[in-house]
Symmetry: C2
Subunit: 217 residues, 2 copies
């Protein structure tokens, strides 16, 4: 899962570890916390031995003025290989049930620009189904076991239900959009500091179910 993310970034341009981590943090910020070095470096080594990436040494242009006092440890720049690019495409197209999981879905989504439309649709729909199931789970708990749970647990369930419901609607918009032919998600110009530029314009109409909500707003 990190493999896909790293390969994807290196596909854009060569980079060293630190930079890789920073870019991953912003690119996947909505999905997972910053990736740990304890994961990053071992993964880089694994990718390297597998032949997907190589070191593109960085002996700087500067004269050899600093003799390796303490075995000079410079930054290591990695670049993707031809096999790595193939591997990346393979991983991108590999749409198993794991690809619908929170983290994996996010990573796949982050590289949608480089993914075929049909794959994109398959992933979005799989994810939607998964979140729908989650949502039904919450509904059942709230309907059936409400009196057996304490107030805070119930609040957590409602919170989860609402979040799941919103994600389903979000996915539905994205799916409709993909089908309509326009490739990238639409959206008004940004830069707005307003908290929720969200859903406004076309949005709404797309709820599949009788729609639990919408009593609000």
């Amino acid at each position: 899962m990190l493999d896909l993310a790293i390969l994807g970034l290196l596909h854009e341009s060569p980079m060293h570890g630190y930079e890789l981590r920073k870019q991953l943090s912003t690119k996947l910020g909505a999905i997972r916390a910053a990736i740990s070095y304890g994961s990053l470096y071992p993964t880089l080594r694994r990718l390297q031995t597998a032949g997907w990436i190589t070191e593109a040494g960085e002996t700087p242009a500067g004269d050899a003025d600093v003799p390796p006092l303490t075995s000079r440890r410079g930054r290591v720049v990695y670049k993707i290989t031809a096999e790595g690019k193939e591997r990346f495409q393979d991983l991108l197209a590999q749409v198993g049930p794991e690809a619908y999981e929170d983290a994996a879905f996010g990573v796949h989504f982050a590289f949608f620009s480089r993914t075929d439309v049909d794959i994109r649709l398959r992933i979005l729909e799989g994810r939607r189904r998964k979140v729908e199931e989650r949502r039904e789970g919450f509904r059942e708990v709230l309907a059936r076991a409400a009196e057996r749970l304490d107030a805070y647990t119930l609040e957590l369930q409602r919170h989860g239900l609402d979040a799941a419901d919103r994600e389903v609607r979000w996915l539905e918009e994205l799916i409709a959009n993909e089908r309509s032919g326009r490739t990238p998600p639409p959206r008004g110009a940004e830069g707005e500091l307003r908290p929720s530029p969200r859903t406004t314009d076309s949005a709404r109409p797309l709820t599949a179910r009788p729609g639990p909500d919408d009593s609000a707003e």
Copy 2:
């Protein structure tokens, strides 16, 4: 983190592994996926050697009619010990920065009924601060780097921003409520299938995304 959850459940009543897992799934369903047995059983053993829990054997009342043909492996019922209860209280009150993380926050929240008001407030406020920072991060990316990211990455950022914003509002309501003295979260009539039954006249749906995963949340 599992320690707290397991201790908390066993605090309510003795239970065997399978049941423990089921209850955890519903109680923490909004926070993290179902806990794996690969985590559960080792953790149980750890808690046992630490003395927080003990086996409350389950040799059923039935006569010894089934001689251990294949070393009869019955269900193992665990119960919390006195030390375990102390430990549970300690863990509950331990409010470090880790307690504001997605998963840990959820577990703490799930046991708020057994937590002091001031601790509850401290946790809710810490969590709010954390999510606010997250939110600011998204805003900055969207404001500063919008033109350097592809459409899908941007969409992910907006989604994240919106989710964070909603969670902050949710937390704010909970905090206000705690301060107002009413201990348990308020809420319209139960049994409702409606996802977001109103709170007050302000008529705003509470919500937020748990986040990654969490793994994921």
